[in-house]
Symmetry: C2
Subunit: 207 residues, 2 copies
Amino acid sequence: MYLNERMSQFLDDLASGAPAPGGGSVAALSGSLAAALISMVCNLTIGKEKYKDVEADVRTILNRSETLRHELAELLEADTQLYGKVIAAYRLPKYTDEEKTVRLDAIDRALKEACGVPMQIARRCAELVELCVPAAAKGNVAAISDIGVAVLMAEAGLVSAGLNVKINLGSIKDATFVQEAAAEFEGYMKSKAEIKARVLEDVEEKL
Amino acid sequence: MYLNERMSQFLDDLASGAPAPGGGSVAALSGSLAAALISMVCNLTIGKEKYKDVEADVRTILNRSETLRHELAELLEADTQLYGKVIAAYRLPKYTDEEKTVRLDAIDRALKEACGVPMQIARRCAELVELCVPAAAKGNVAAISDIGVAVLMAEAGLVSAGLNVKINLGSIKDATFVQEAAAEFEGYMKSKAEIKARVLEDVEEKL
């Protein structure tokens, strides 16, 4: 469990040539940092007289950001396991025809999972980009720069997760899976980059 | 020392309403993650027969990414101290004229430091964006997506640090300091966003 390790250990292991953690885990961590910053701004807003009128909305944002934060933390852990599963599938015996079939099925399953985890990271990062819109509008303006950092980390996490989806899609044989994943991913990228730019404009105005 | 804490502790403290850590620390962490990913790709390249011709260059990249990684880790710690220093300056006595002068000087010094730390984070993140160009050209192509994630994290760290510079510049009275800092920051933003886009194109082609 990397979340229970020292941060310096995670950075050292990341910098090493060990197979995990890698870019997928960083995408999940980037999303977790975005979620934590949204939560922080909500916590700096709730209970303040000046923000009494939006307090219920801010509590709703906080509930969502905390859920996403914990889900992304779990996905960080899941991502560090993926490489081992793919390697294990490739190492299955391939002497008989039956073994070959079993092995290829196992490889395809492992690759789909290696694609599915970053897809889940991408979906949550995309939602966090969107969550920055109401957070910037309703959160404590004294902490507005933190929403700017949040939207940057959420979008960087989204695009990073996308790269980890793409690198695996090329090896998957299930054409329907590949098409659907590629289509969903393209949709995310464009619309979220636009939302990020808008949130950053909003933040810069209020700085 | 946050680097010696569990990662979950950093995320929990970030999500809380406590004054530190905040967006500045996340900018430094984002840069550290970028540096670690560059180091990882270098470590996956060095010693491989296929990359023998570029090994010396890759070692040079690795030296630089590891130096930047450790500097950014120190800046992460420094950033968590800034808020306390600004608050301490504001809390100095202001009864006599002499006390008022001493207090205003202390506030200006603390604010300049609160600006200087994210400026140093921004400079290192900017260098990391640039370091991704040779890393993408010479690093192990099997890990090319990790250079994509690195450039995303480096640029997100740069822009995030920039927001933390801007939010402090407004309160600083030293006009020369403010002008120079603003000019340096604007220069970074444009050129590095272009480099990021180019590295991502390069990565996508090789995926």
